[in-house]
């Protein structure tokens, strides 16, 4: 084994393993490089086995030996392949000639486990043991498993000390001639039915054990004897909740919460117990659990709406703030949508907590909260929303105006009126639309007042058109009269601007389907202003064909 060529070939294997160890995990299994790494290392093994049957490495803390020759040395703690094996008690590793490509792949998977960073309940020896390699043999030192040195000797000595006296043995011998004969227990034959029953039971046993354990935990609750017992149960239920969320098992979480609710609703259960169980609901809505839920929602796994709705129904208002926090952190649209829906549900329980999200530093979160408040439709929300109309981000302002429009309380009108003076045209038009959706006389009055304003004429055509479109929501005499008047209005100065206004009025009358306006519209259909002509024509068509 210590021929120069043998040592060189063994060193080549070690080098190949070291190289593979560095690069193996960088590539997914589908990448050609992954295969190449295994193949390169396996080639070194094959070369070694060309003339030899086994390759044995003796393992020291920082060295690998082949026979008496050192083939690897590293004084480092990191990246030390000898230490990697040594620390778990591995002292010798032998590869046999038939060591296959597949076995090498599995071996490399073990060799590249980062025990410091990964949560693994196995050590190197266990991983080797579980793989049950046909062509790897190893020797381990088990002494580090026990704290007590030579326990065996002391235990055996103690046990042997209790020796029976000779009289007892003689008595046994004498009795042997008196006692009954052999009481032989016969071997019991197993029937096919027995075996099939057993196979079925084993299949059934493969199911998740959480449900069973939960029954036991609730049993512990019913048989608890002290406050400490209650605290334990709550702690275990919380752990079960967290474990299930981590595994994306929302159905189990729902199960836990249902069982908890059942106990709380049980009149025979004391208030003290109920108080403890209430903590499980708080835990479900805690920052950690909501964050975990967020990660799961973001993972792209499809979740049935029904399941998520039921899950959310068990949350308490303490979940609002954590949800607001993760709302700005989620990466996927479906996840954000789910959180928004959750907040729409939860926000109803505590508008004030939800409204705190309006002060979030992330504009998109604020916009989402505004949307949520709008969807909740609680009139109290308006008080919080009006404070946001001066938000620095135009997207937020736009959203809040829309929400205020949907809320439509009298109190928002003054705010909306002020928003009509916003420097951004899109805000002004959004405000007009919001007023349109409020649809009250007061709102109409604000719009009418705005479009009647001399300065309004100077606005961009599209903005004006939006305002007139909003006016069409009130097809009453006031508005029609105003529009007819606008349509008729002639001006020698700034004629083009005036014609734009007339076109908007025509457009609005068309939208309202006002037949009374037809004569006038026919008249201006022949206008010299092409723009006005077109709008009048479209309006006529719309009114005549009721489109």
């Amino acid at each position: 084994m210590e021929l120069v060529e043998d040592i060189k070939a063994a060193k080549d294997v070690v080098h190949a393993l070291l190289k593979a160890r560095k690069t193996f995990r960088m590539y997914p299994e589908t990448n050609p490089m992954y295969e190449r790494i295994i193949e390169d290392a396996h080639a070194k093994f094959r070369s070694f086995f060309d003339y030899r049957d086994e390759l044995t490495f003796k393992i020291k803390q920082n060295e690998l030996f082949c026979g008496s020759e050192q083939v690897y040395h590293s004084p480092q703690k990191e990246d030390n392949i000898a230490l990697f094996f040594f620390k778990d008690g591995l002292r010798e590793l032998t590869f046999k000639k038939e060591f296959s490509h597949n076995e090498l792949e599995e071996f490399l998977k073990i060799l590249t486990v980062d025990f410091d960073k990964e949560v693994v309940d196995d050590d190197v020896v266990t991983l080797l043991w579980e793989r049950d390699f046909h062509n790897i043999r190893y020797v381990v030192d088990e002494s580090f498993l026990t704290d007590e040195e030579d326990y065996e000797t002391s235990a055996v000595e103690e046990a042997k000390d209790k020796t029976a006296g000779e009289d007892d043995l003689s008595r046994a011998y004498a009795d042997a001639f008196k006692e009954e004969g052999v009481k032989e227990l016969s071997i019991v034959p197993l029937t096919d039915k027995d075996l099939h029953t057993l196979v079925k039971e084993l299949e059934k046993d493969a199911y998740n054990k959480m449900d069973k354990l939960l029954l036991i935990i609730f049993e512990m609750l019913y048989q608890a004897e002290s406050k400490g017992d209650y605290e334990d149960v709550v702690h275990f239920l919380n752990d079960a909740v967290e474990f299930s969320i981590r595994h994306g098992d929302l159905a189990t979480v729902i199960g836990i919460m249902k069982m908890t609710r059942e106990v709380i609703d049980d009149p025979s259960v004391s208030d003290e117990v109920k108080k403890y169980l209430g903590l499980v609901f708080s835990f479900l809505g805690s920052e950690t659990e909501i964050k975990l839920l967020g990660e799961f929602l973001d993972s792209g796994v499809e979740i049935e709406d029904k399941v998520l709705t039921e899950y959310i129904s068990f949350l308490d208002k303490n979940a609002i703030q954590p949800f607001i926090t993760i709302l700005g952190e989620l990466k996927t649209i479906p996840a954000r949508k789910n959180v928004i829906n959750a907040l729409i549900f939860l926000g109803k329980k505590d508008i004030q907590s939800l409204a705190k999200g309006l002060y979030d530093s992330r504009w998109y979160v604020v916009r989402n909260i505004i949307y949520i408040l709008g969807k909740i439709g609680d009139k109290k929300a308006a008080d919080y929303l009006v404070k946001t109309v001066s938000h620095s981000d135009v997207r937020v302002r736009k959203e809040v105006i829309k929400a205020l429009g949907e809320l439509g309380t009298a109190g928002v009108l003054q705010t909306l009126k002020e928003c009509l003076d916003d420097p951004e045209a899109q805000i002004r038009t959004s405000t007009a639309r919001a007023l349109g959706s409020i649809h009250s006389a007061a709102a109409k009055s604000i719009i009418l007042q705005r479009v009647a304003d001399a300065n309004f004429m100077k606005s961009d055509f599209n903005e004006k058109k939006e305002f007139y479109e909003v006016l069409s929501h009130w097809p009453d005499s006031d508005v029609i009269e105003f529009l007819m008047k606008s349509l008729k209005k002639k001006s020698f100065f700034r004629r083009a601007v005036n014609d734009e206004n007339r076109a908007c009025a025509a457009y609005c009358l068309g939208l309202m389907g006002s037949k009374d306006a037809l004569p006038l519209l026919y008249k201006i259909r022949d206008s010299k202003n092409k723009f006005l002509r077109e709008y009048a024509y479209t309006a006529i068509k719309r009114i005549e064909h009721d489109r």
Partner: protein, 470 residues
């Protein structure tokens, strides 16, 4: 070994054995020429012949309760258990120990083989009849059933030493870990896994030796020995059920901590030399709850801790729920709980420090457990258990027809009524330096040299098994 990797060969081997069982079952109902049989034979040959071609020769051998192909034990999935078990019984009925496939096998040869196999069971000398009937098939040979391994060949002393070392390592580890848990330390599972893996390996290879270690109960530190004994007995039972190494490790680990709740019981109760008062009993009966608590506090929730907690809670509930704790809602007992409660009851009954305080001899404990089977104990698992422990469990005090008195030293998987016995009193009634006799040994005339005529309870005579068996 040429061509295929060894692991691939053995991956397919279980299918060959399974198919062999399928054919025998089918051939027992239909004529060997029936299409059901011939189709099954064709399938069998399609699996077998390529392996013979690649391996040169294939030997299927029954060793103990297990099949080996070319000396490698073949493991199988659960769904194959009925067929494997059936085949073991069919081989044993005929005294058949091995089949050597030497060349490409033809369908017609296999039909002759199966016809002879089925009919041989009706013969007075089944193996000889079978052997004669298949003598003309040149591509295969059959061999007679023999003992698994002659330990003398493989170094009996070394194996025993290894078994002993592994056993005491496990006890020492358990002692350390229980003490750490008692003192509130967090304990990892890596070392426990290593300890149990070692036991699983030994049970797979030397089941009876390690199970035999559980017979010795004269240690001071009962709690730790009991935990290890229950773990060994549970793993051994699991192995009989054909469970995988990984599952066996899980059972072993769960069993090791089944009584962890007892750390909360005051020592003065736990080690009380007299019977418990009602109050003391009610404290004892809390240990399943405390077990769940200890495990979940230590490990939180994961697959292993969930199983461990369930077993810690259920291991005294009994198959018919007549035990404790009594629960408001009835639920099915966990499969591991059923296994571990069998092992727990057996070890408890044959020990001197639990509940009844009067240790029972193994055979008496098994008799009592037999009465409980179907009530307190799962009847099917008990069948496996009793077959595993054997007709004469290690430690049984026996009188031989030679008037020698001895202790059962080692059970023999193949010949359960003929164990090895450590003689402590010779045929003249004299106490002697103990010596081992093998009850399978025959005189030149063909009669057995020694046979057990009486069994007795060693506890009744304060015989210290440790003195003789360690």
């Amino acid at each position: 070994m040429t061509g295929k990797g060894k692991e691939e060969v053995f991956a397919g081997a279980k299918d060959i054995i399974n198919q062999l069982a399928v054919i025998i079952r089918t051939a027992a109902i239909h004529d060997p020429g029936n299409i059901a049989v011939t189709t099954a034979v064709d399938k069998f040959l399609a699996l077998l012949n390529p392996l013979i071609a690649s391996e040169g020769e294939l030997t299927l051998e029954l060793g103990g309760e297990f099949f080996y192909i070319n000396e490698t034990r073949i493991r199988y999935p659960l769904e194959y258990l009925p067929n494997f078990d059936f085949l073991v019984r069919e081989f044993k009925k005929r005294g058949l120990g091995s089949i050597v496939f030497k060349d490409v096998i033809k369908a017609v040869d296999m039909q002759t083989f199966f016809k002879a196999f089925i009919s041989s069971v009706f013969s007075q000398t089944p193996f000889e009849t079978f052997s004669e009937d298949v003598g003309n098939i040149s591509s295969l040979n059959i061999g007679k059933l023999r003992r698994v391994k002659d330990e003398a060949e493989v170094g009996e002393v070394d194996i025993r030493r290894e078994v002993k070392k592994s056993y005491f390592n496990a006890v020492s580890y358990t002692k350390g870990v229980i003490n750490k848990i008692k003192s509130g330390e967090k304990v990892g599972i890596k070392k426990a896994k290593r300890v149990v893996e070692g036991m699983v390996d030994l049970i797979l290879e030397q089941e009876q030796l390690l199970v035999g270690m559980t017979a010795i109960k004269d240690y001071d530190e009962y709690t730790y020995h009991h935990s290890v004994n229950v773990s060994i007995l549970s793993v051994a039972l699991g192995q009989r059920l054909g469970l995988s190494k990984k599952v066996l490790t899980e059972i072993g680990l769960v069993a090791l901590f089944h009584d962890i709740g007892k750390i909360e019981i005051p020592n003065e109760i736990l080690n009380k030399p007299t019977s418990f008062t009602d109050d003391e009993w009610s404290i004892m009966k809390r240990h399943p709850f405390w077990g769940v608590r200890a495990i979940l506090r230590q490990r939180g929730f994961d697959a292993m801790s969930m199983r461990s907690a369930i077993v810690a809670f259920e291991h005294h509930m009994n198959f018919d729920f007549s035990g404790y704790p009594r629960t408001r809602k009835r639920f099915e007992l966990d499969f591991y709980s059923k296994i571990i409660s069998l092992a727990d009851q057996y070890d408890g009954m044959t020990s001197s420090r639990v509940y009844s305080r009067i240790p029972m001899s193994p055979d008496r404990a098994l008799s009592l457990m037999m009465e409980r089977a179907g009530k307190q104990l799962d009847p099917i698992l008990f069948k496996f258990f009793i077959n595993m422990i054997g007709v004469f469990p290690v430690g049984t005090l026996v009188m031989l027809d030679t008037k020698e008195l001895g202790l059962v030293y080692q059970s023999e998987a193949m010949f359960l009524d003929r164990p090895k016995v450590l003689v402590i009193i010779n045929g003249k009634g004299e106490k002697v330096d103990s010596y081992i006799v093998d009850l399978t040994e025959k005189a030149p005339g063909g009669n057995f040299l020694r046979t057990i005529v009486k069994t007795m309870d060693p506890n009744k005579y304060k015989i210290n098994l440790a003195e003789y068996l360690l």
